[in-house]
């Protein structure tokens, strides 16, 4: 800045400085945005060309991929609800939620094995599976509430990063406690009864029954949750606390109890997801980590704090990571794209935050979120 002519040099310099600062980051983000769109479009065109040329997966393979992706997404959605609700109420990412999911799957496995040894799993599979589901839900609920009580409650008023770091610690503590207690082996649920394996035709589309089960259970759980949140007094209290804790307290809501309920409900949903995931893919101490982070991605995708958004975000993320690698990366001619499944899921997170940080169904990011 030259001091020769202050009125003329200062005003534009301030202006250009502000503009330069904005455009620097903005232009970088725009480059990424445009690049991402072009890349995805290029991949899609490539895939369509390959498909019409008879290369790559066939139509029925794509259909199977799609169904599997939806089933996966439904589970992500169930886990994402816990993230979304806790974030809505307390404003921090509960990293340990992935482990809440894992614990439900794990203890559910023991229940299922016990039922299988007792014979109920074979003789009366529906009741046995319902019992297993209850055990999973109870475990995860208990775990979520326990973690809240032991670790998070006394951090309510501390700076925001403190509970986040605590939850990372809790996450690793739980993971490696399960490793220490139960060992590192991957355990598989007892096999499903014959009427739940194989395919079933829905509107002429063959769907694997186990995947259909996942989708149906997730849908039932979701609608149940929705009824709970919108129709009951407790649900209303939860929404009020999420809106404004202080005013909710002034209106006579027991904030502490409502927060515990929030954790419990999120835990129960994670427990359902855990049982479903476990009986499809087996359980191990490490199973909660990646699904946990991906479910958080789903919650952000749908708009964090918005319950239907979490479910929609889950399904979308499931689709994106299930079909995306083959559809987009395959179209770009990348070798063995399925290896990059996780990378695609995390890229989705980055892209969502670049394109629409408030998520698909969230309100525009307010001043407080930008802070």
């Amino acid at each position: 800045m030259t001091a020769t002519d202050p009125p003329r040099t200062q005003a534009p310099s301030l202006f250009t400085r502000a503009r330069r600062r904005l455009t620097w980051v903005d232009s970088f983000l725009w480059v990424i945005r445009v690049g991402a769109v072009l890349l995805i479009a290029w991949g899609l065109i490539g895939s369509i060309q390959r498909f019409t040329a008879g290369l790559g997966p066939t139509g029925s393979q794509w259909r199977d991929l799609l169904v599997a992706a939806i089933a996966f997404g439904a589970m992500y959605g169930l886990i994402a609800i816990g993230y979304s609700m806790v974030y809505g109420v307390l404003g921090f990412i509960n990293f340990a939620h992935g482990e809440v999911f894992m614990s439900g799957a794990f203890i559910g496995y023991f229940a299922a094995t016990a039922l299988s040894n007792g014979g109920l799993w074979q003789s009366n599979p529906i009741i046995a599976m319902l019992l297993t589901l209850l055990v999973s839900m109870a475990t995860s609920t208990f775990m979520a509430v326990l973690v809240e009580r032991v670790a998070y409650r006394r951090l309510r008023s501390s700076p925001r990063l403190i509970p986040l770091i605590t939850s990372i610690g809790v996450s690793f503590f739980l993971q490696y406690s399960f490793l220490g207690l139960f060992g590192a082996t991957v355990r598989t649920y007892p096999t499903l009864p014959p009427f739940m394996t194989g395919n079933i035709d829905i509107l002429g589309v063959p769907v694997q029954r186990s995947q259909l089960l996942v989708i149906v259970v997730a849908a039932v759980a979701m609608s149940g949750l929705w009824q709970f949140v919108t129709r009951t007094k407790t649900g209303r209290a939860m929404r009020a606390v999420a809106e404004d804790k202080e005013i909710a307290a002034l209106m006579g809501i027991n904030v502490d109890r409502t927060i515990v309920t929030t954790f419990a409900v999120g835990g129960a949903m994670a427990g359902i997801a855990g049982m479903l995931y476990g009986q499809l893919y087996g359980v191990s101490f490490f199973m909660g980590f990646l699904p946990g982070i991906k479910a958080f991605t789903a919650a952000v995708l749908g708009g964090i704090g918005v319950i239907p958004g979490a479910m929609a975000g889950g399904v979308l993320l499931g689709l994106f990571e299930g079909v995306g690698p083959l559809l987009i990366l395959g179209g770009l001619g990348i070798a063995s794209p399925s290896q990059l499944r996780d990378a695609v899921a995390f890229s989705a997170l980055v892209l969502v935050l670049i394109f629409r940080p408030s998520g698909l169904f969230g309100e525009a990011v307010g001043a407080e979120d930008r802070a």
């Binding site: 700076p159 925001r160 990372i168 610690g169 690793f172 406690s177 990366l329 990059l340 980055v350």
Partner: protein, 629 residues
């Protein structure tokens, strides 16, 4: 051992007018005992007691497993009688009845779950399919080798006896208590570093002394252990009388503090120069690993400690450094192999790391801190997948990695992993550079911008701090320092593999920074020495191999414990402590002004005013919309 030293408790020393001592709190004793019982059963069930039983720390009778076993009832017995600080911050004196009776009750309760565990282990139930770590050997440890009913009695006797010792400790003067804890800590550390002590003393020509103190590949002999314990306890008791109160020390700044830290620095520097000469290659290699983690932690310290941005994918920059070095220097690099020299490649790598820092930071620079955390984690995961993928195998070698990375040429010689001593000197050199850079940055203009950003972003912005630039600069500086670690790692190991850069590394670096003390260079260095030196990194062994299976469990526990009890870390930075305990500071100042509970008679009104005025606001309470207190 688990005494917490928040300013509130330290403010309430003996001179405070003690309220009436409350009677025996049975409910508290039972509650504390139950927690202890669960803890003991837990460490037993995950196999910790048995694994650590192989390492004898006090020859011939006390193993590390026993130490852990005995510590639980001891701490429980102590905590059972503690009176929680009241709203006025004072801790009333504890009556003998409360301490001892409470401890006894807690001791009995502690024994409950382990007793159940013993009964199950002795029964015919086959539990090992569910709990692989439950084996008959465990019952032996818990019962001290006694059979039948005598076993249960032995367990009960140990629990109650040690709980009573803990309770008795509560009755002693606080200064004495601290001295005893310090003595136990020092003797325990001395017992655990037998390997280092052996090489150190051996190279000094004091092998005979080692023979007197230690048993090779084991721990301290019991008699020297007792003597050392008494000695160190006495010394710390005497020293404690001369030391200022914790709060006073925290408030002390300026030349005196600087002079002290200069002396400490000089002594440490001298030790650093001599130490690698006096120990063998295993220990030197161990210290190289510590040094690499120090570099990464110093880098993360700029991001998390100085600027308050949570970066969960810090391993990214380490990976960029290591893979960059591998590609640029190794003749075996599959794609692009310019085969540069190490020093020539270094600036390129540092520039790459800086670019990576900008790339990772930019997408979320305007969003809230937790998004940043998850995105950095996401980037680290993406990078790991890319390195391991078949797609980029022609460039990065996929799962096989890149081999044949040459060492660092220094003068006529080449330093590589085969010569840990030279490697250690090189690493120390880089750590010193990083420390200097961190230290200079902290007080610089950008450093103050970081502090403002950390404490309150909105206010910082209002004061004219360019927050976007400050955030990106933090990422750039942190990434550059960490890329040194990657470059050294590549030269040391001679090859890079994707699984050296797993996500767990990021978490371990975070634990180092947090345990040591966010934003405090000596704290971060100490954190790296203690954690990496003793426990080791995710894939690197530490001094104690027994910890291998329990590392991450301990890291997770430490993270939770530190956040709940001592968020400012073991060696806290003055400023950070004030931020994190602002409420307590203000409360203390208020009490001082009112004349209640004055803990030190020197506290004048002027000092109080300073405290109140200089205590900065806690990071964005009002701005974040978190609940005001």
């Amino acid at each position: 051992m688990a005494t917490t030293t928040t300013p509130t408790t330290s403010a309430a020393t003996s001179s405070a007018p003690a309220p009436a001592a409350p009677g025996v709190d049975v409910a508290r004793a039972v509650r504390v005992g139950a927690i202890g019982s669960v803890a003991l059963a837990f460490v037993a069930a995950i196999g910790m007691l048995q694994t650590f039983d192989n390492r004898v720390v006090f020859v011939p009778f006390l193993s590390l497993g026993d130490v852990i076993f005995f510590a639980v009832p001891l701490v429980t017995g102590y905590l059972a009688g503690v009176v929680p600080p009241g709203p006025m911050g004072g801790t009333p004196r504890v009556s003998a009845a409360r301490a001892l009776l409470g401890a006894a009750i807690a001791g009995v309760v502690v024994a409950a779950l382990p007793a159940v565990l013993i009964a199950t282990l002795r029964s015919d139930l086959d539990l090992r399919r569910t709990f692989p770590n439950l084996s008959p050997g465990l019952a032996q440890i818990l019962t001290l080798g006694q059979e039948g009913a005598a076993g249960y009695l032995a367990l009960l006797a140990v629990c109650v006896g040690l709980a009573l010792v803990g309770g008795a400790l509560l009755l002693t003067e606080e200064r004495m208590r601290r001295a005893v804890v310090r003595g136990v800590e020092i003797v325990l550390v001395l017992a655990l570093i037998e390997l280092i002590a052996r090489q150190f003393l051996g190279n000094l020509g004091l092998g005979a002394l080692h023979q007197r103190l230690y048993v090779t590949n084991s721990g301290l002999r019991w008699l020297p252990a007792v003597v050392l314990f008494v000695l160190f306890t006495a010394v710390s008791y005497v020293l404690a009388g001369r030391r200022a109160s914790a709060r006073e020390r925290m408030l002390r700044t300026g030349p005196e503090r600087q002079r002290r830290s200069l002396i400490v620095t000089l002594v440490l520097a001298a030790a650093l120069l001599v130490m690698p000469m006096l120990v063998g290659s295993i220990v030197n290699e161990l210290f190289v690993n510590v040094g690499l983690f120090m570099l990464m932690a110093l880098g993360l310290n700029i991001i998390v400690g100085y600027s308050g941005l949570l970066d969960l994918g810090h391993v990214t920059f380490f990976a960029v450094g290591a893979y960059g070095m591998a590609v640029l220097t190794s003749p075996a690099s599959p794609g692009f192999a310019p085969e540069l020299g190490w020093w020539l490649a270094l600036p390129i790598i540092v520039a790459m790391a800086a670019a990576a820092g900008i790339f990772v930071g930019t997408p979320v620079i305007r969003l809230r801190g937790d998004y940043l955390a998850i995105v950095t984690l996401g980037f680290a995961a993406i990078l790991e997948r890319l390195f391991i993928s078949d797609w980029l195998r022609p460039y990065f070698g996929g799962a096989q990695g890149i081999r044949r990375i040459p060492g660092v040429s220094v003068g006529a010689t080449t330093v590589s992993g085969t010569d840990p001593r030279a490697m250690l000197y090189l690493t120390i050199g880089f750590v010193l550079v990083a420390v200097y850079v961190s230290w200079r940055l902290q007080g610089s203009r950008i450093g103050r911008a970081w502090a403002a950003l950390r404490e309150d972003e909105t206010t910082a912005q209002a004061m004219g701090v360019d927050t976007t630039k400050a955030k990106l600069m933090a990422f750039v500086a942190g990434a550059m320092i960490s890329s040194f670690a990657g470059a050294l790692f590549a030269a040391k190991v001679g090859s890079v593999f994707p699984n050296s850069f797993e996500l767990l590394v990021s978490i371990v670096i975070l634990v180092i920074v947090i345990v040591g003390g966010m934003g405090h260079i000596p704290g971060v260095l100490l954190g790296a020495v203690v954690l990496i030196g003793i426990l080791g990194g995710p894939r690197l062994p530490g001094l104690l191999q027994e910890f291998q299976d329990y590392k991450m469990l301990i890291y997770g526990t430490l993270l939770v414990y530190m956040m709940l009890m001592k968020p400012e870390g073991l060696l806290p930075s003055v400023r950070r402590t004030r931020e994190l305990h602002q409420e307590e500071f203000l409360q203390d100042a208020w009490f001082d002004k009112k004349g209640h509970f004055t803990d030190d008679p020197d506290a004048t009104g002027a000092e109080v005013a300073v405290t109140e005025a200089s205590a900065p606001p806690i990071a964005g309470d009002a701005a974040d919309g978190t609940e005001p207190r």
